[in-house]
Symmetry: C2
Subunit: 135 residues, 2 copies
DNA sequence: TTATATACGACTTAATTAGTCTTATATATA
DNA sequence: TATATATAAGACTAATTAAGTCGTATATAA
């Protein structure tokens, strides 16, 4: 546990691949999926999420594909991961406005606040690492 | 998803509960499970894992139960979590001696090493936090 | 007009996590 | 020494989540 999903891994690979291989031209899902042996349909939807989060831009049609929308120094690990995972946190209750909704034990829980602090430290790590740093 | 398992949550709650409530006497699984609404059988097996990792000691029979085996300042978050989770890492391949075993993409993967560095930082957080700090 | 690319919701399958059932063993105490 | 109470532990089932697939729509360069 405490594992990144395959989806996040794929998205990260795709972003890094684009950073290394786009030279003013579009890169297709087919190309990335082919090289890394990732399901085409699955990766396609991850790319769409990256578009919605303004990390990449898309060009439809022939000669289409994707390009990074920012410089690699301006794309954070946190950006990519949070674009893919709805919420990434140690527990369900952390980062939910009303803890009672996500946990029946919210009233007697003794680890929520301590884990929330740990969460902040983890968030900091992901927010301090850029794509440029991992090229 | 980067989530802690319920098992780790329960184990953490149990350890903190024992730290706060044991006063030289044993605390039973029944007591902890009852207070927090945790499955008795499930918590029982988590306690057994904590015993095997020398975090707590057990006393069988009537008047039996569990007691912490160390001072709270000497029990790390990392100790408790790694006692419960077989391996907690961002990816399957990190911390496996032979990455090829756990991943078909090991030969072409471009994110393994960067994520391994992130992993080290996360490990540091868990290894720097003691139970005493979260009481 | 055609080939090629993304967009996206619905669905299925696979894997993992959480929880249960059952039986065995240890021990304080009446 | 019998009994009640507690832990020990493997096998199993249920529930949840993650991963992957299918089908159809839309955009665009040539």
């Amino acid at each position: 546990m405490l594992r990144l999903s395959k989806k996040s891994e794929y998205a990260l690979m795709a972003v890094k691949y684009m950073a290394l291989n786009q030279n003013g031209k579009c890169i297709t899902v087919k190309e990335i999926a082919g090289i890394y042996g990732i399901s085409f349909q699955l990766l396609a939807k991850l790319m769409q999420k990256l578009v919605k989060n303004n990390i990449i831009i898309s060009q439809q049609g022939t000669k289409g594909g994707y390009m990074l929308n920012k410089q690699t120094k301006d794309i954070l690990l946190a950006d990519v991961i949070s674009a893919i995972e709805e919420n990434y946190s140690l527990t369900d209750c952390i980062e939910s406005e009303d803890p009672e909704d996500s946990c029946a034990r919210a009233n007697c829980c003794i680890i929520r606040d301590p884990l929330a602090k740990v969460q902040q430290k983890i968030n900091r790590i992901f927010a301090e690492t850029t794509i440029k740093q991992i090229l």
